[in-house]
Amino acid sequence: MSLLFEKTKHQRQCEFQAVILAGYGSSNKLYPISEDENLPKALLPVGNRPMIAYTLDWLEMAGIFDAIVVIQSTGNAQQKLSGYITRNYTGNVHCNVVGVAEDCGTAEALRAIKDKIAHDFIVVPCDLITELDPRNLLDQHRLRDTTLTALFYAPGESAKDDEALPFVGIDPTRQALVYKSEPMEDDDISIRMSLLTKFPRVRLHTNLQDAHLYIFKRWVLDMLADKEYIASISDDLIPMLVKCQYQKKMVDREQVNKYASGYQGLLQTALALSTTYSNDVDEDVFMPDPIHSSFKSPVTTQVYVYRDGFCGRGNTLDNYAELNRHVIKQGTPIMRVPPTSEVAPKTQVGNDSIIGEHTKIDERSSVKKSSVGAHCIIGKNVKIANSVIMDSVVIGDNVKVDGCIICNHAKVLEKTILKDCEVANDYVVEKESQIKGEKLVAFRQAMA
């Protein structure tokens, strides 16, 4: 009995493998803070913890203990990340860091690691922070047992509008993802009739964002391995799977059945042989209809729409700042001022802010809605608001910082006023400067 129990437990652990795309495909939306000299994206601090730690926590909550972290092999990003995983990471997820070429697409990355994946797998970006209970998502995936399950979320009010949201078509009866298209300014929206034949009811949303979190069946990887023209997950693979649901010709052309049939689950096989069970009987089984021919596609998809809580990605500077604000916002149970830090008595650290280890803040300063990293030295009468200050930053007296991101080892000298700036690592902001809305990068770095 106990042996049996042990066995099932073991199997459950192997149900999904995770693939974390770390610092991947974000191009330079995070310039200059995720440059090589500073930190890889996965290690950028959010509330003084590396972003990837949140993802790993989430996976652990989901009961997934086997993760492959894919990161570009150029530069020292991979080294830094491995260092973090081996030395600083304290969770239970077993991570395998794999480096791939910098310019390779997300689907190509999957192809590169296909031998390491033996089960259905979940692709997670390293920059996703969500309050969604992963078990809800996984349960919904298990329930419908689809080829693809994607997570979409309704972005919060505070999210900037600079990112236009895609058109997302969902069949509300089956939660199937049936249409996805990037926003267009002028062109008409064009929907295939074959789509409306297969899915007669389609709800088109313009208020949902793709979380880039996908759960795939293992056979998708087999197909991916053979089709080298699929380069990106979100641009190529997802649209293809979506269209395979209703375009018979595409299924035939891409020979999707060949891949899908090999991985029929035991349960499905049993049900298929059952005489009483009928799984989603296609409508025109009894009456052939040449005009609206429908077919049973080997591909099924579904969408989990998360609206009840926070979900956000740190893929742009704004979103990154937003993640920080969310994590440190009032009421979150975190250690805001660690005992190792030295905060002068007349200095205020708001309960919507966080201070790192061994950081010193001199008197009459104030920190509001900001996170300050470890080993920083902050002078007198400094006002910090809505900002992210990373580790070992030095800020002189009478400095005002508002809405800025200041990277490791940067220095901001006295009487400077910075608003909405990003300061690269090791950069020194001269004293008494007044700068607004600029990216401050050393000349040498800018050239590189």
């Binding site: 926003p183 389609v202 088109l204 190529d236 005009i291 609206h292």
Partner: protein, 719 residues
């Protein structure tokens, strides 16, 4: 269910809304149900033995409606007479106040509404529906929503009541779907597009500006649109303003929604539980009849006895029988059958899936399947009738077969021993000329443009224009019965096939699809916009492969009919050739098939009592036609082996083989080389004993040919 006298109850301090008015359009302004609709308005056609309009009035009676305007454009007298004599709705104590409004000049819904506007009859919001609505819905909720909406949205002018159903629900028309784009919360209709089934439409497109006011929209291809609309007073006025709007959905709804100037809004009211359908075509008539018998529309079922004096009783297997029905001991009444009072069913007869009216006489050994017999139909013995509508007082004499999809109008008598092919439409009255696609081939030149359009519309259209120009009349021991040809809407380019799809019991395998219509395009991977159109396609094996044999079978049958008619009616060779070519091209048939049909028919024309003269006459006349279906010398060989094969079937025919051969040779249809090839190769040698005998007979002829050749060669040598 008697009309209720209950007035709407007042709710607290709410102001009492005036009861709605209702407008019933009795005319469908289309050519469905011909030839029955030529003599009877659609709203008076019985469905499950009750005139359709009764169902419509029933729906209105249980809603908050008082004044009902019955708008008629055709058959006005009949509708007036119906209400005067037999309807219980004219009772002044009744809840409904029915008025007949005659608009004899209206040619469309738009005209009728303009007429209503001109007469200023509409003083309040009204329910606009057609006289063929079958439903068990209570419209109260929809009316309430409509009224509430008018308070919040001053521009709301109309609420369409639509039912959620599966895409392939049988009460949805096959000829075309309506795509509704709705706001999922408020139900506002943001875009409406009618999509015809054929030619196949690839995509629907709409402007992304819809999203400016609505973050989410819903596309619906699964709605049954029964044409029940709750309209504001200004709707008729809008029709007057836009004098070119004809149709309610295509012009009005589409026009209102897409217009930036009018600024009016249209909403939908979705129902999912209630049954609601409108009998817009023959196929749906069939479907809804079955729905009613299967109790989908409960309490609208026969044993509710909506019409006074009815006494239907329900028994197991969805069999509904009136009181004094006489069923013989040995007859079988299978499932889903309704039998009206006074009907007699004879010995050994079988009735399935059928509705039989009052006072019908059904003989013995009759087989009825999916048949709608209206009142007073008489069927003789040994008849087989499938999926057809037989209107009042039709009589079918003994040993008559009627194939599926036939419609027999009032009083028609057919038989005895007749066979009515599928999709026949028979009437006692000749078909009016303007309903013919083309009246005669003399007008060919003038009608070329029209014909071109017909071809474009589909091969079948040209088939009808070429093959069946001649008015058909069935004669017999009864009044002449006219066969109506396929009708066409002459107002615009409707694809004929769409109309056919929704005819009664249309077999989808009879549908002819173009190759590109069978295929579908697929996107390329990496196309995010999904905008490409890839029409380089592979035919999908629907009609092309699987049903090829069926199609060519069909073609052969038609060809045989055409040729036979030409022979019997003694057309000129040119006319016959034209007909053959037309039919062959429209069905994409092969010349070899044509020959296979032509030769036996031709030989059969020869009068065997006087073979020599007859043979000469027939073959001399029709030889040129044979010539026209041949192109190469192999074709001549083919003709010879066909001749051989056919003559071998009968010793009497065997005698004329050699003679026929000789005549064909003499009139230069068959050349010497072909005869030689035929004689020396397997074309003549592979056959049964009879066929070989004929070959032997031909030996003499061949020898003679050889000699003649030698002689001519010698002649030339001597020169």
């Amino acid at each position: 269910m008697p009309p209720k006298n209950k007035r709407p109850q007042q709710h607290g301090d709410d102001e009492v809304e005036e009861p709605l008015q209702a407008v019933i359009l009795t005319d469908s302004y289309d050519a469905r149900f011909l030839p029955i609709s030529h003599e009877l308005p659609r709203c008076l056609m019985p469905l499950c033995n009750i005139p359709l309009i009764e169902y419509t009035l029933e729906v209105l009676a249980i809603s908050d409606v008082r004044d009902v305007f019955v708008v008629c454009s055709s058959h006005i007298d009949k509708i007036k007479a119906y209400f005067d004599e037999s309807s219980r709705w004219m009772n002044p104590k009744g809840k409904l106040n029915v008025k007949i409004v005659a608009c004899p000049d209206a040619m469309s819904v738009g005209d009728a509404l303009r007429e209503l506007d001109a007469r200023q009859l509409i003083t309040n919001d009204f329910i606009l529906t057609s006289g063929d609505l079958v439903s068990n819905i209570k419209l109260d909720k929809a009316i309430e929503d409509h009224r509430a909406r008018k308070k919040t949205d001053k521009n709301a002018i109309m609420t369409m009541v639509v039912k959620e159903a599966a895409r392939s629900h049988t009460s949805r028309p096959l000829e075309g779907a309506s795509i509704f784009v709705l706001d999922p919360v408020a139900g506002q209709c943001l875009y409406y597009e009618p999509v015809e089934a054929l030619p196949k439409k690839d995509r629907i497109e709409f402007a992304p500006s819809l999203f400016e006011q609505h973050q989410e929209i819903e596309l619906r291809n699964d709605l049954v649109d029964p044409r029940v609309d709750i309209c504001s007073v200004e709707v008729p006025a809008l029709f007057t303003e836009n004098f070119d709007w004809q149709r309610l959905r295509r012009d009005f709804v589409h026009g209102i929604i897409t217009s930036d100037i009018l600024g009016k809004t249209i909403y939908t009211h979705l129902v999912s539980e209630a049954y609601i359908a409108h009998i817009q075509n023959e196929r749906i008539y069939n479907a809804v009849s079955m729905h009613v018998l299967n109790r989908w529309a409960f309490p609208i079922v026969p044993e509710t006895n909506l019409s006074p004096g009815d006494d239907y009783e329900f028994s197991r297997g969805n069999i509904y029988k009136a009181g004094n029905v006489i069923l013989s001991r040995s007859c079988i009444v299978d499932e889903n059958v309704q039998i009206g009072a006074g009907t007699v069913v004879g010995e050994n007869s079988t009735v399935r899936r059928s509705v039989i009216g009052k006072n019908c006489q059904i003989g013995s050994n009759v087989n009825l399947d999916g048949v709608y017999l209206w009142d007073g139909v008489v069927i003789g013995n040994h008849c087989h009738i499938q999926q057809s509508i037989l209107a009042q007082n039709v009589s079918i004499l003994d040993h008559t077969n009627i194939d599926h999809g036939s419609i027999l109008s009032k009083g028609v008598t057919v038989g005895p021993n007749a066979t009515i092919p599928k999709y026949s439409r028979l009437s006692l009255e000749p078909q009016p000329k303007n309903n013919m696609f083309e009246s005669s081939d003399e007008e060919d030149d003038g009608d070329n443009g029209k014909k071109k359009r017909a071809r474009k519309a589909g091969p079948d259209a040209s088939f009808f224009s070429l093959g069946l120009e001649h008015e058909h009349v069935l004669h017999g021991d009864h009044a002449p019965v006219y066969i109506w040809t396929h009708y066409a809407n002459d107002d615009d380019d409707v694809d004929e096939r769409n109309i056919k799809l929704d005819t009664l019991a249309y077999d989808i395998r009879d549908l002819v699809l173009d190759e590109h219509e069978l295929s579908e395009s697929a996107s390329d991977i990496g196309e995010s916009s999904d905008d490409e159109s890839d029409l380089a396609s592979v035919g999908e094996a629907f009609n092309l492969n699987v049903d090829d044999s069926k199609k060519s079978e069909e073609f052969k049958k038609e060809m045989a009919l055409t040729i036979e008619r030409s022979l019997v009616e003694d057309h000129t060779v040119d006319t016959a050739a034209l007909e053959i070519t037309g039919l062959r091209m429209s069905s994409n048939g092969k010349y070899s098939d044509v020959r296979e049909i032509l030769i036996p028919l031709l030989i059969n024309q020869i009068d065997l009592s006087n073979p020599v003269a007859s043979m000469k006459k027939v073959l001399t006349k029709w030889g040129p036609l044979v010539d026209k279906v041949m192109h190469k010398s192999e074709d001549q060989v083919h003709i010879l082996s066909l001749l051989q094969k056919h003559c071998a079937t009968n010793p009497a025919l065997g005698k004329i083989f050699l003679g026929s051969l000789q005549i064909l040779y003499n009139i230069d249809v068959i050349e010497e080389d072909a005869v030689m090839t035929w004689y020396t190769t397997g074309a003549s040698k592979d056959g049964n004993a009879e066929e070989l005998k004929l070959r032997d007979k031909a030996t003499k002829f061949v020898e003679w040919l050889n000699e003649a050749e030698e002689e001519s060669e010698e002649d030339s040598d001597e020169d």
